[in-house]
Each structure stands twice: as C-alpha cells, then as structure tokens.
C-alpha cells in the first residue's frame, strides 16, 4: 500500500538534513521502535532528525509524492504507541528543534519550537517571572508531544490543560505546505478552530513546527497540603466537598500507600508519611499570601471536619520536593515493580472517581491481578496500571483484554471517556471506537481525509 524507502529517497533525505541526521539500518537505536510503555513495537526504515520548518516541509513534499508513511516523534515518552511507526517508513524526530524563539512580555506569550522540553519551558518561564501552567508528570516530554496529546497534568484543576494555552501553531501539511493556524490573540471567533483540531490529533493531521503559548504571571506564593485518610473511599469522597467550599486548589492528586511504597523503592528516598492507607495532595497558589493562607486553612479545616486523620503542611522548597518528586515518579515506580504493565487513562466525572477506583480494586480481586492506581482526583483523570507480574504470555494477553474491556465499559457507564490526557494512539483505538460509535468516528475519519488524503501521516492511529 505504501512505497518502500529506496537509496534515492535516503539521498534526498540527506540532502535536506545532512548525513549526520539520517539514520538507517544498524544505526537506528532499537528505542526508536517503541515509546515509554513499549507494548507496541515496530522499527522505522529511516530516522530523520529535523531542525527547521523548511526541512520538515521538504521531507513531507517528498513523502507525499512518493507515498511513504511518516511518523513524528518527540522524546518518545508517550504511553499509547502514537509515535511508533506501525507502517515503517520515515520516523521524523523533532528533539533537535529545541529553540525558545521569543518571549513576548506584552502579550504574555512564548514562541517555541516543538522539541523544547516541558522542563526547559517551565524553567525559562519561571526565570522570567511567568508560569506555563500545564504540568504533566513527564517533564522530559517535548512541547510538540504535549500539544499533540493535549496533555493535562496536575494543575489542570485551576489552570486547565495544554489546549487552553496554545495561541497559534505553525504546521506542515502532509503535502509539505506550511500553514499558520491561530494568532497571538486571546480571543478568536474566526471560523472553525483548526488550531484546536490539531491540538490532540497525535500527529495524524499535520506536523507542528512552531507554537505560540500563553503564559500567566508567576504565582509568588504556593503551599501544598498532604492529607492522610484511613481509606481511599474517604479520601476521594473529600474532593467534591472541597469543590463545594468554592475554593479552587491548583491541584488535587490522590495516592495510595502501595504506590508511595513503590516510589520509595524506586527513588531510594523515604516519603514524609506513609502510616495511612490513602492520601490526597492539594496545592494552593496565588500572588497574595494572605489569600493563599485563607484558602489553605479553609480546606485544611474542612478536611479535618470530614474525617482526615491529619493535615500536613508542605510549605518550603525542600518539603515540596520531598512530596512532589515522589508524585512525579509514580509511573516509573509502578513500572519498576513489575516485568510488564499496561495503563488505562480514563477520565470520569469528579464525583464518580471513588466508584471507579473501587471497581478496579474489585476487578483486581476477581482476576487475581495487581492493579495499582494514582491520579488527578481534582479533574477525574485516573491512571490505572495492570501489572503482569508472574503471568504467562497467554494469561497476560487474556487478562489484559478482560480488564481493559471491563474498565472502559465502567468508565463509559459512569459518564467518562477513554483518555484524559495520554491520548488514543494505536493502543486505545478499539476502545474509542466502542464508545463513540459510527458517526463521531466517521467525522474523525473525514477530517483526517481532508488533511491527509493519502493517509501518509502517522497512519494507523486514533481513528484510521
């Protein structure tokens, strides 16, 4: 269906980016065949490292003409196989497009290339007294990857997700044309929002080569609270009650003692408290310390009123590090606790989280599989992991399908969706199709066709 890469194609690619940026054969590191989770694997025929929009444009024009599949990859930290070249062809790596191009303090925007890492952008913003609010746990992800999955993160409760901070995009269409979508403006009622369509499209519609992102003033004061509860039910049930108090924390995370213990093993660092079964971790931030204190105390008192064992104050740089570094390592820690795992990133209404977590616990008992979880209690986005442990290949395959079928069905029943922030990629396509049904899937397929009639850009993903 697609054309194979020829020596002439390789020569042309070298012409665009230079010999040192074209990898073939044994020069391709096997890590290019998979993403962070590694459950889906396929080697590309050639890896091309790009640095300029013009190079991306030239390569896409060539691929369009030759009908060669192209898959874009950032840091490879995805969890659903979106950056895996399932049809082979060209793997285009954007990590060398890592320049921060402009800080516009008047319009409170920063313009970046897609390979800038989230942690680099966060540090740059802070140095200039700004905050780039989206805060996914994986700080070494690229901004291009964050935009492509509409990454959320921990501050979504107060600040929203990546889509809320993308003002404009420069993209290369599958045929090589360069197009600008959106503008450096706060409002936009100018026709269909193509920019918003590209955000979260997981590299299937076009290639992002530049992004204008909105910033907010850096909140000068912040404090976190680590709140222990006797059980997960009480911890999760506290969340809607906190919202009812009309205080909006920046983040509300939940974690179980099991997950904390995995993290201690993984990091070799003790967590400040692990005497209780379940915890919620809240943050409050702002530019007025008195207001931050008032909000913090109101929620702390409320938590004690509704049965929290205690409320621990996480107020200094060192204390924040001891708590949040553990939280940031949960995914890696669970991964290190087993030989293989797969994940479910469902999002449910905030007041149904407890029901979903209890369901996963019951499912674990029913199937005999370990199913640890953690996640964003404040926005309903859960990260649930099915651990293979001692299972044989056949048992693992069967149990995984069984657990996933039941969990996605349950999420739907509770009014939730397949993915909160990790995307659909290759791994979750069937579940998306099962939930959405014909019409939405046909609409998505139609949109894909308008952008990429030849289906050369990241084929086999999301809806195709």
């Amino acid at each position: 269906m697609y054309n194979k890469i020829t020596p002439e194609d390789i020569s042309k690619l070298i012409g665009f980016v230079g010999e040192e940026n074209v990898l073939v054969g044994d020069a391709i590191n096997p890590d290019y065949a998979h993403d962070e989770l590694g459950t889906i694997s396929k080697m590309p025929d050639v890896v091309v490292r790009v640095t300029e929009t013009e190079q991306v444009s030239g390569i896409m024009a060539m691929a369009w003409e030759r009908e060669i599949p192209v898959t874009v990859r950032g840091s490879g930290t995805g969890l659903v196989g979106a950056a895996v070249p399932v049809h082979g062809g060209i793997l285009m790596e954007t990590t060398k497009m890592n320049k921060i191009l402009e800080l516009d303090s008047d319009n409170m925007t920063v313009t970046v290339q897609p390979g800038v890492l989230l942690m680099e952008l966060a540090a740059f913003a802070e140095e200039n007294d700004f905050l780039y609010p989206p805060d996914p746990g994986e700080k070494s992800a690229t901004i291009g990857g964050n935009i492509s999955t509409n990454a959320g993160g921990m501050r979504a409760v107060k600040y929203g997700v990546t889509r809320d901070y993308v003002r404009a995009l420069t993209v290369v269409m599958p045929n090589g044309e360069v197009v600008k979508l959106g503008a450096k403006v706060a409002k936009n009622s100018s026709g269909y929002s193509l920019k918003d369509l590209v955000i979260g499209s997981e590299g299937t519609l076009c290639i992002i080569t530049e992004a204008v992102l909105a910033l907010v003033p850096f909140p000068k004061f912040s404090v976190s609270l680590l709140v222990p509860f006797q059980d997960m039910k009480s911890a999760i049930e506290a969340v809607p009650k906190i919202f009812r108090s009309k205080v909006t924390p920046t983040a509300i995370e939940y974690m179980s003692r099991d997950t904390i213990l995995f993290s201690e093993d993984y990091l070799g660092k003790k967590f400040p408290d692990k005497r209780n079964e379940a915890y919620i971790l809240l943050t409050f931030d702002g530019s007025d310390q008195a207001q931050v204190d008032v909000d913090m105390k109101l929620v702390a008192d409320l938590c004690l009123e509704i049965g929290a064992v205690d409320v621990y104050i996480v107020d200094t740089e060192e204390r924040k590090k001891s708590v949040w570094s553990a939280r940031g390592a949960f995914l890696e820690a669970i991964k290190a606790s087993t030989i293989e795992m797969d994940e479910c990133d469902v999002v449910v209404p905030v007041n149904r989280i407890d029901e979903f977590i209890r369901f996963t616990h019951a499912l674990g008992k029913e199937t005999g599989v370990r199913i640890p979880s953690f996640g964003h209690a404040g926005d309903g986005n859960l990260h649930v992991y099915i651990c293979r442990d001692q299972l044989s290949d056949e048992e693992w395959e069967a149990v995984l399908k069984d657990c996933f079928d039941k969990m996605y069905h349950k999420a739907e029943e509770l009014g939730g969706l397949v993915s909160g922030e990790h995307g659909i990629g290759y791994a979750k396509k069937d579940y998306l199709k099962n939930q959405f049904g014909d019409v939405p899937m046909q609409l998505m397929g139609g949109i894909k066709k308008v952008f990429d009639e030849k289906n050369i850009l990241n084929p086999g993903k999301v809806c195709i």
């Binding site: 609270l225 003790k270 400040p272 702390a300 004690l304 409320v311 104050i313 200094t316 060192e318 204390r319």
Partner: protein
C-alpha cells in the same frame, strides 16, 4: 531521654539581597523558614524518642519572630521551645552565637543529648555545634549519619569523617551535628498547630543568663569582624581534579596558587 535540638530561622529563598551600604541581609518582605539542615536534626531526635522514649525540645537565637520556627517544631512533635532574644545579641558571629546558645542551654535545663544540623543555609559556617559543645564541656562529633544505639550512659553513632565512615561511642551527655540528607523530615501537622499555645514557647534574654557581661554577646562578643557580605556570584564553570585525595589536594593548591588566591 531528654533531647535538645538547636534550630535557626533563615531566609526562605537563596535569592536574598544584601544592602550594599550596610552589608546586612535585607530580610524585610522576605519569607523565612527553619534552616533545612535543622530538619534532619529534628527528625533524628524525634525518631530517637519514638524508639527509646523521652522528649524533644528546641532552642533558637533570633528576633521575636523566630518563635514561628519553635511553633513549627512543636507541630512536628517537639514538646516545647525557647527563643533567646535580646537586641544585645545582635551582630553575633559564630563564637558569640555559640556562647549565647550555651548560656541559654544552661538555663533551660539538663539534656542527655544536644543535636545540631550540619550548618545553616545563610551562614554556612558549620562551626556553631562544635563551639556550643566546647562551652558546655561536652563530647561532640560532627557529620553524624545515624544514631544506631542508645546504651544507658552512651550512644553509638556512625559519622562521615573525610573519606571514611566511622562508628563511635560517645558518653552522654554529648552533642552531635548530623549530616544533611540523612532522613526525610516529617511534615508539620496543621492539626497540632491548631492547639499550640504560647505557653509552650519561652523567651529568654541576657538578663536571664548566668553570665551578665554584655561584652561576651552580640557584636562586641564576636571574635571576627565582618568586612563585607555579598551574594556569591553564580558560576557553572567546572574544573575536575582527579587522583587520590593527596594528589587532588596538591593539584588544587597549585591551581589556587597559580591564580594567586593563596
């Protein structure tokens, strides 16, 4: 076991400005916190009382607002604390600070064990612990990584000494300075904080001390005179020196000599 932990209130951030005229830290408007190294000392003390029984108290020298860190320590589990506060203590160097603390400790009671942090994040001298021990005539050891045992009249500790980790026994009462990053300090409890009353926080001034000679305190009791204080310039340049400790020391000396720094 009665344990005392010495604590200090320091600026909450490393980006504190220095007044170019007076050379004094501009503390106005800057948030403050408990010296992070003292938290490891507090955690060590609290764990010891959990294992062997007893109680922990804290002591600090500073302005009246330093009571905030006494309160914080109580929220972490200590019984009570004392602020040594007097304008005549102002401008103290390490010697005068250690002397003031030793006078305060004589007044607050007898302790089996005194624990200090490695150093502070604002002064960075790492000398006050050992000097307090000298003034109180107590055995002391620095660089303590863990207290392994409490055996009636003595304790067994492991300590980092140059390139070795040594295990030693110290007769009680004694003073130890613990290394940084040796544990994960517990967090202060908001719940406990709601019931902390001011009678758990004591204040002492020079008038309460045995030694009333004003010349032994503050600026006049200081053996060092500070000519100038300034924030260190940030420099990320790296020069690695390889070899054994002795070879490294020789090479480092040669390098500093060549730059006319020694």
């Amino acid at each position: 076991m009665r344990i005392l932990v010495c604590v200090k209130q320091v600026p909450g951030s490393s980006n504190v400005q220095v007044d170019p005229v007076t050379g004094v830290l501009k503390r106005d408007g800057v948030q403050s916190k408990m010296n992070p190294y003292d938290l490891y000392a507090l955690e060590t003390a609290l764990c010891l009382t959990e294992r062997f029984g007893g109680s922990v108290e804290v002591i600090t020298m500073g302005p009246p607002q330093a009571k905030a860190i006494i309160r914080e320590a109580i929220c972490m589990g200590v019984k009570q604390g004392t602020v040594l506060s007097d304008r005549r203590f102002a401008g103290a160097d390490v010697l005068a600070t250690a002397y003031t603390l030793s006078q305060g400790i004589r007044k607050t009671g007898e302790y089996d064990l005194i624990i200090c942090g490695k150093q502070t994040t604002d002064g960075d001298t790492a000398q006050v612990g050992a000097e307090i021990a000298e003034f109180l005539n107590l055995p002391n050891v620095a660089g303590v990584l863990s207290v392994q045992e409490v055996l009636g009249e003595s304790i067994v500790v492991t300590a980092s000494q140059d390139d070795k980790v040594v295990t030693m026994s110290l007769k009680l009462p004694c003073l130890i300075s613990v290394d940084g990053d040796i544990n994960t300090p517990r967090l202060p409890s908001y719940k406990v904080g709601k019931s902390v009353t001011d009678d758990l926080i004591h204040f002492l001034s020079l008038d309460d001390f045995e030694d009333q000679n004003v010349h032994n305190y503050g600026l006049s009791g200081s053996a060092t005179q500070v000519e100038r204080i300034f924030s260190p310039e940030k420099n990320t340049e790296k020069h690695e020196i390889e070899g054994t400790s002795l070879q490294q020391a020789d090479k480092l000396y040669a390098l500093l000599h060549s730059k006319k720094l020694v």
